[in-house]
């Protein structure tokens, strides 16, 4: 305990230097900006910033780059709530209830809940890293390919729970997502699959064009059809600060979201996306009236937003404590360290204590900066909802097109976005939720890669999934979740049958 306080004091000493506060602020501000802009994610931004950090000291450089990453999680919810545009994969679920709240004139409340949830999650997770980082990091080394498979299965099942309406349709959407995810280069043999001879599809269908199309463009089409392009999204903007009753309702959800997020963040392959989907499903299962979800449930915004921020921060644990990057962005951070001559590995804590504790302390500083930065902005964002459709829609389409293009400098992706816009419209007409499809698309390639690897390692013995305790645990959880969804509808079906 004495050590912890001493280390934290040293960390804050580093993080609170004028230069590092400045760098943290720049990182957070940039992160918020790219989070708000659809398409441009934290990954390319950090990559672009990397050369500019060559001249900085490594601690300052990493503080700034980390700020971009978790700042993007704050900003990512903004467009999800205001325009049903998920800026990042992890904000897909926020679209569901966040946008529904905006339609009811509660956009301000939704944005404030997202910010408060993120702050709470960020602070709790920072404390967790400081207190228990190194032992927790070893969890990442307990996971083998078979265990990842079971984690992904649990993630996919949670998407069934979250969808409102037909379970069958949700399952079909997941399968469709998995199929779309199988486009691209075969992970084991390097063979091209379903690429239609286009190099553009060799790496699979990107997340950005699909989400822009399915969510953003489809929403615009539905709006034009319903209201003929006149009017505004929400007439009444309502109060910006959530009423006490709402906060009281959201707080337990935020805490549960934080716990789920912190857990999934440490696991390699987990990360903010599965965390936010799982947090949403848990809230929906626990709620007294699950039917509220999808129509502006407060917990449906608070829990996933807390979860994605907690996961964003806890995925630094394996990176900082072991040098193991659990996702592509952490791999970039490892790259940034190597440029500065720091070899990633468990020795960072002992050899570079200023860097380790300075970064942890900077996360606490950064979360506070982000809230200060974001709360006043809410008033401005909300006013966007009063911009008439005639101006707002063309602007959104331009943003989507530019955002999609900049990911890979590919015009093909813009065409893809348009195609998925039409598909999204069809899905809406058929009452099919696009969120499960997105999760299938994101997890599909990972699921396949790990499944095939697990099979190679186990010589084709499928019992590996039930003989490994971690894997068995996740599979049982998935089975329980599926049973919890299916049983009520089966019972209802039987009751109906009895009535006849």
């Amino acid at each position: 305990m004495q050590d912890l306080l001493g280390n934290l004091a040293m960390g804050f000493g580093v993080a609170l230097s004028l230069q590092n506060i400045g760098l943290c602020f720049i990182g957070c501000a940039l992160g918020t900006a790219i989070g708000v802009l659809p398409g441009i994610g934290p990954l390319p931004t950090v990559a672009l910033l990397l050369p500019f950090t060559f001249s900085l000291d490594p601690t300052g450089a990493l503080i700034m780059l980390a700020g971009v990453f978790y700042g993007a999680q704050y900003g990512g919810s903004t467009t999800a709530i205001l325009a049903r545009l998920p800026g990042e994969t992890s904000s897909v679920v926020t679209c569901l209830d966040g946008y529904a709240m905006a339609l009811k004139g509660q956009a301000g409340t939704a944005l404030a809940l997202a910010a408060i949830g993120s702050l709470l999650a960020g602070m709790v997770t920072t404390l967790l890293i400081a207190a228990a980082g190194p032992p927790l990091a070893d969890i990442a080394l307990l996971f083998h390919s078979a265990d990842y498979v079971s984690v992904m299965v649990l993630g996919l099942i949670s998407a069934v729970v979250m969808a409102h309406g037909s379970v069958l349709k949700a399952l079909l959407m997941i399968l469709l997502g998995l199929l779309l995810g199988s486009v691209g280069t075969d992970v084991a043999t390097g063979e091209y699959r379903f690429t239609l001879g286009l190099d553009m599809l060799a790496d699979g269908i990107g997340f950005v064009p699909i989400s822009m199309g399915l969510f953003g463009l489809a929403e615009i089409m539905i709006n034009l059809e319903n209201r003929g392009g006149r009017g505004v999204i929400a007439k009444a903007v309502g109060s910006l600060w959530p009423p006490l009753a709402v906060l009281r309702q959201a707080l337990p959800a935020m805490l549960r979201g934080t716990a789920i997020g912190a857990g999934f963040g440490i696991m390699p392959g987990g990360g903010p996306t599965i965390a936010s989907f799982s947090a949403y499903s848990l809230e929906k299962k626990m709620a007294a009236q699950p039917a509220r979800f999808g129509h502006g449930a407060v917990e449906g915004v608070a829990a996933p937003e807390a979860a994605n921020n907690a996961a964003t921060q806890s995925c630094f644990i394996p990176m900082l404590c072991l040098g193991i990057p659990p996702n592509a962005l952490m791999a970039l951070m490892v790259g940034a360290m190597m440029v500065h001559g720091i070899q990633p590995g468990p020795s960072i804590i002992t050899k570079q204590p200023e860097l380790f504790w300075g970064m942890i302390a900077s996360m606490a500083v950064g979360n506070i900066i982000l809230v200060i930065l974001n709360l006043p902005l809410i008033g401005i964002w909300v006013r966007l909802l009063q911009v008439p459709y005639a101006y707002l829609f063309p602007a959104i389409i331009v943003f989507c097109a530019v955002g999609t293009y900049t990911v890979d400098n590919s015009t093909g992706d813009v065409v893809l976005m348009a195609v998925f816009g039409v598909l999204g419209y069809v899905f809406r007409k058929l009452d099919c939720e696009p969120a499960p499809l997105m999760l299938g698309l994101v997890l599909g390639p990972l699921l396949e890669e790990n499944f095939r690897r697990a099979m190679v390692l186990a010589d084709g013995d499928v019992t590996i999934f039930v003989t490994r305790p971690i894997s068995l645990g996740f599979l049982l959880a998935a089975a329980a979740l599926l049973a919890a969804v299916l049983l009520p509808s089966i019972r209802r079906g039987r009751q109906e049958a009895f009535r006849e």
């Binding site: 950090v46 050369p51 080394l141 060799a202 072991l322 990057p325 440029v339 070899q343 890979d408 190679v456």
Partner: protein, 322 residues
């Protein structure tokens, strides 16, 4: 009226450019990297871009065009306007790609400019295997063919080829397990999911020092400066030298005078002690070479890699006769 004024203005803007076309380079040079930002190729080329822009007197801008195992970026280099304003990084992977994918450009579509350096392959094991020397590794693999699980890239990625090469040269057989890059491979080795891995030294050296894994040998001509305690395969009596390399290339068709400028200045930039120091700090072994050295490296790599690819059934395009 309005439009005509605009057109006139554009024409006037274009005039001085035409007049100055004789001077080269004219404006920023684009350096295409066929790999995502933040990886080894990207980091090394951003360091190069900084040094090269000092020599060439114009900004050198790195443009990442990742995708399809480098094919998208390599094609972008080969298909760029041959005016010398666009160059790119060509690595070992371009050699493999031309045989695996008919869409990938052939090496004959590139003009060699300068040679950056080589990154030798290596071999490392998890401590739980009980193996501490290369001899023990070979013995274990020979006694139990296919039982040792080795982590690496999917075929025909670099660390896959290294292992395939070790297998041929050492007369052993292991089970090759694919991971999407070095970072997940190292994680899998640390967790003991695989018994060994064939990734280069910079990615594993810290874990080697910590005793979390053991580097058995390096496939370079000499020992790696970051792990001076690890012997080379040659020292241990096995003629195994294989590695990846990075070089700069231009599309075919760049005028000879411009090509000469690029070759001279880029080779000079590579020899800049400041660049070498920075590269070394980041873990790169630089061995600068001119255009002739580059062409030789391409040819040498081609002869070395082709039979391996052929044996693996990975030659699907541009099959060599005989």
């Amino acid at each position: 009226m309005h439009r005509r004024t605009l057109l006139g203005a554009t024409a006037m803007l274009a005039l001085p450019r035409l007049a100055r076309a004789a001077s080269f380079p004219d404006g920023p040079i684009t350096l295409i990297v066929a790999w995502p930002a933040g990886g080894g190729s990207d980091v090394s080329m951003r360091l190069v871009a900084e040094a090269a822009s000092k020599r060439l007197g114009v900004p050198v801008v790195v443009e990442n065009r990742p995708g399809a195992a480098g094919t998208i970026g390599h094609r972008a280099i080969a298909a760029a306007r041959p005016d010398g304003q666009t160059i790119g990084m060509v690595s070992q992977d371009a050699i493999s790609a031309q045989y695996g994918n008919a869409n990938a450009p052939a090496m004959s579509e590139f003009e060699p400019l300068a040679f950056f350096g080589e990154e030798p392959g290596a071999l490392q094991v998890h401590p739980s295997t009980g193996i501490t020397t290369l001899a023990q590794y070979i013995e274990r693999a020979k006694a139990n063919p296919g039982k040792i699980r080795n982590g690496g890239n999917p075929a025909p990625g670099a660390s896959y080829l290294y292992m395939a090469y070790y297998e041929r040269k050492l007369g052993i057989r292991v089970t090759k397990v694919s991971y999407a890059g070095y970072a997940p491979t190292v994680t899998a080795l640390l967790s003991g999911e695989v018994d060994s891995a064939s990734v280069p030294v910079p990615d594993v050296v810290e874990y080697h020092k910590e005793g979390r894994l053991k580097l058995l040998a390096v496939a370079g001509e000499e020992r790696h400066f970051m792990a001076p305690d690890v012997p080379t395969f040659r020292e241990l009596g096995h003629d195994v030298v294989i590695g990846g390399w990075r070089s700069l290339a231009a599309p075919v068709g760049v005028p000879a005078d411009r090509l000469a400028v690029l070759r001279r200045e880029l080779f000079a930039a590579f020899r800049d002690p400041e660049l070498q120091a920075k590269a070394r700090q980041a873990g790169f072994v630089m061995s600068p070479g001119d255009a002739a050295r580059t062409a030789a490296a391409w040819a040498e790599s081609d002869t070395g890699v082709y039979p391996i690819l052929d044996e693996l059934g990975l030659v699907k395009a541009r099959r060599k006769q005989g």
